[in-house]
Amino acid sequence: MLLKNNKLVEKSSHGTLKVPWLTLCLAVMFICIYALGENIFNLLVFDRAAIANGDFWRFFTGHMVHYNFDHLLWDLIAFVILGSVIELNHPQQLMLSLLISSIGVSFWLYYFEPIILTYCGLSGALNGLLVIASMMLWNKTESCIYLFVMLSTIGKICYEFTTNQTVFVSMSAHPMPSSHLVGFISGLICFFLLRKKVNMIE
């Protein structure tokens, strides 16, 4: 019922329901990772020193862990929306988009934000997914609403840069507007890299 209310299911051209299984599975995985607690967090978080000692998986897994429930909640809602859009339009692109956006953000943090020792959270990568989802839908429908979403997101990132804070989030860790911007740019790069393939599929 919840899925229906949130329009996270879609009727196929043959009238059958399409469910974004991969998105939902990943969402459940993020919840499980959060529920498993501190040890798993420490094993997966983006940790500069640990990466220098060979823990390269943290480049990707750092985006899967969250500081607290609020941090997880909003990231998760956004992920389900964006992931569903991408998955239901181009199922094979979701993991690739997530991977490229996540690693793009981590790469930036590692090489260009040396003061950041640790980082966690999905939002940087989500900004990448947002670009991909919006561009996909705009390509498909030419509806200006998707450009408006992207422009709003750019506006929000500008706000975050100006005020050095997110709009409503309050947590002990420092929200990083730069990760949102880099995620956004990663999404753009990712989209144009995948565009040819997307068009072929269409």
């Binding site: 939002s123 947590m171 860790a173």
Partner: protein, 704 residues
């Protein structure tokens, strides 16, 4: 074992901090001293009210307290408290016949003679003396029958900001390292009347939050640019142990209710045996910067400055396997703490990198090694040595030199070695001369990281050792946030540092610079430089040193003011820093009469209590009678006037390199970053849900 791939240093730091947790509930405290078995009655500490102002890079602590005599004869009060870190005691005031009389600084022996003379004449008098690095002691006479005697003590310290987190400690726990004193005195640490602690942070750099890790119920208020912290015991029962800290504030309604119940005949006294630690965290993304606070009365006169360099350097993480030598103090003072220490060792060793090796050296009156040379951090070895550490029984005295000597043996020159020294005591057996320790360390290319546990430890010696080996020392109170200390140490040992750091000032004449030898600047550390200057105008500043063997230089330029009247306390801070340097030199090279005279002269001129000077209060006419110059009183008036002006003005930034930044990077921070979304983001994203509706023919048109 993937988990073992974590940086090994982190595990060592975890162990250190476990050691800190292990410190048992404090037995000793600040308080009134009475000789054991003397038969003398014990006086009361009636009120103890603390006010702290942190602004312009330094903290001013003012303690007002009163002693009450409930007994049948006049008595002498002797109050002792641990020496706060880099604290220049600048004011000792005693109320005589309702009138405050400021103390004056004299040579230590002379001050004591004056005090004893006045006491023998049954006249009002008081004295504040320094007992080496251990304690300050205030003696007041007489506390008359059925009456109160009120005193005020004030001290100034440079504010410590590390990795963008400022830390202020109101030290109350006595470290328990002076065995003779402990055998001689009993301590009354109970405050029978009011206790209050009020702290104000007025920072030019934005403060994001304030935290009292051991006093979570403290009242914290932000008023514009100011942050206020308040604790008191006015209305409720307060036990000073950690479990009952919630009762410290009047805001705790439950405690308030409990306190007003007539049946609650409980001990309402606050006990001065728990440090109050306050962290204030600066906002993120502040730039590396240079701050300048100066004091210069007239254009033609000599000025004094305090330059605070907060680096924003590009320091990369270190990688690769290393050798670690744990040197653990197992002297008698560690009794009751050792079981938890062993648990800490266990956890630390279990997190070592498989490429690392370790040795474990123990010392009390004698030194011994648990390991037979370096052993690889394999699960079997770790298990074996954890058991061995657990079986140790701490006892006897502290032969630190022997422990260090053994730790330095059998180092492998092909690998990077570091020593981790954990001690809460002093070197009291075997070689105790600082010079010998330094000579020993200079023979080895090794870094020594020292964790100084508790108050009253031999900090001069331990910091000198870390200085000579280009390591660092971290002070830890029982009230500190252990996780914070782990992060602090971790962010230093895991990253490159600026070694052989030097500060050069050109373009303006500067003299009497302190510190002369900076050593290494680790990630997050601030560099505070004091000195005198002549004239005014543009100066060029260069901070240079080596990072990973490569020469680095950071430069800026800014103006030194012609006249600056807002911070007269800077003069005392400069004097105290100079005295500390002289004391270090004497510890390194032996006592020297000229240096001793210099310290005495500085103490007297700037009104500072030192190892060679004390502050004495006598009645007004006695100052005149004895020909004691009232220069400290004059200085105090000047400082109070400046404080009143500052109190009503907006906190200002002391940054002077804005036009020509010394650093391109931001200053390091503790906090990890986080990608955080909020409801607004989700709202912005929500139109994409429209894209989930079933495809229409129109929607397929373009693609086709």
């Amino acid at each position: 074992m993937k988990t073992k791939r974590k940086a090994s240093i982190r595990s060592i730091v975890v162990f250190m901090c476990f050691a800190l947790v292990a410190i048992s509930s404090p037995v000793y405290a600040a308080g009134l001293l009475t000789p054991k078995d003397s038969g003398l009655p014990v006086l009361d500490i009636k009120d103890h009210n603390v006010k702290v102002v942190i602004e312009d890079g330094y903290a001013i602590t003012t303690v007002d307290q009163s002693f009450f005599n409930p007994h049948g004869k006049d008595l002498e009060a002797v109050y002792s408290f641990p020496v706060p870190d880099k604290a220049a005691v600048s004011e000792f005031t005693m109320w005589i016949d309702g009138k405050p009389i400021n103390g004056e600084v004299l040579e230590k022996k002379k001050a004591r003679e004056v005090y004893e003379d006045q006491k023998s004449k049954n006249k009002n008098t008081g004295i504040t003396e320094k007992n080496e690095y251990k304690t300050f002691e205030i003696s007041v006479y007489p506390v008359k029958v059925g009456q109160e005697t009120k005193i005020r003590l004030s001290y100034i310290q440079p504010a410590q900001v590390d990795t963008s987190v400022g830390r202020y400690v109101y030290q109350l726990e006595e470290g328990g390292v002076d065995e003779e004193a402990l055998a001689f005195w009993t301590t009354n640490e109970k405050v029978t009347g009011t206790f209050s602690f009020d702290l104000v942070v007025r920072s030019g750099y934005p403060v994001a939050s304030i935290r009292l890790p051991n006093h979570p119920s403290a009242e914290i208020i932000q008023q514009g640019d100011k942050w206020l912290v308040h604790l008191d015991n006015t209305l409720n029962s307060v036990q000073s142990n950690k479990d009952q800290d919630a009762a410290l504030t009047i805001n705790n309604q439950q405690d308030l209710d409990a306190a007003v119940q007539p049946v609650a005949q409980i001990d309402t006294a606050f006990r001065l045996n728990t440090d109050i630690v306050v962290y204030y965290k600066h906002a993120e993304n502040l730039p590396g910067s240079v701050g300048l606070v100066a004091y210069k009365e007239e254009a033609g006169k000599r000025g004094t400055f305090m330059m605070t360099v907060t680096p924003g350097m590009d320091l990369q993480p270190l990688a690769g396997g290393r050798d670690w030598v744990f040197i653990l103090d197992i002297s008698g003072s560690m009794q009751g703490k050792y079981a938890t220490l062993a648990e800490g060792v266990s956890r630390a060793l279990n997190q070592l990198n498989p490429n690392d090796r370790f040795r474990i050296v123990l010392f009390n009156s004698r030194e011994s090694e648990l390991t037979n040379g370096f052993v690889n951090a394999t699960p079997a070895n770790i298990d074996q040595y954890v058991k061995a550490v657990t079986a140790v029984q701490p006892n006897e005295s502290t032969n630190l030199y022997a422990g260090l000597q053994l730790g330095l043996k059998r180092l492998d020159s092909d690998r990077t070695s570091s020593l981790i020294l954990v001690t809460d005591g002093v070197a009291n057996v075997g070689e105790t001369q600082q010079r010998k320790f330094i000579e020993l360390l200079k023979q080895y290319d090794v870094r020594l990281f020292t964790f100084i546990m508790g108050n009253s430890a031999n900090e001069p010696l331990l910091t000198a050792l870390t200085r000579v080996s280009n390591g660092f020392a971290i002070n830890v109170s029982n009230s500190d946030d252990i996780i914070g200390k782990i992060l602090l140490a971790q962010s230093k040992v895991n990253f490159q540092a600026l070694h052989g750091a030097k500060v050069q000032i050109s373009g303006i004449k500067t003299v009497d610079i302190n510190p002369k030898d900076i050593g290494s600047v680790y990630r997050g550390q601030q560099l505070i430089v004091f000195g005198h200057y002549f004239g005014s105008g543009r100066a060029n500043i260069t901070l240079s040193g080596k990072i990973a063997g490569q020469e680095k230089a950071y430069t800026t330029e800014f103006d030194f003011p012609d006249v600056a009247l807002e911070n007269p306390e800077i003069e005392r801070l400069w004097a105290y820093a100079t005295i500390e340097t002289l004391m270090q030199d004497m510890e390194d090279f032996g006592e020297d009469p000229d240096m001793k005279n210099s310290i005495t002269d500085l103490g007297v001129e700037y009104g500072l209590v030192t190892d060679y000077t004390s502050m004495v209060v006598v009645e007004d006419d006695v100052f005149q009678e004895l020909g004691i110059d009232r220069r400290n009183m004059t200085r105090i008036k000047k400082e109070y006037a400046a404080r009143e002006v500052r109190a009503v003005s907006t906190p200002r930034s002391t940054r002077v390199d804005s036009a020509s930044p010394m650093f391109n990077n931001n200053r390091p921070t503790f906090a990890g970053g986080a990608g955080a979304l909020d409801p607004m983001s989700v709202l912005i994203f929500s139109p994409l849900l429209w894209g989930l509706k079933p495809r229409s023919k129109k929607s397929n048109k373009r693609v086709a």
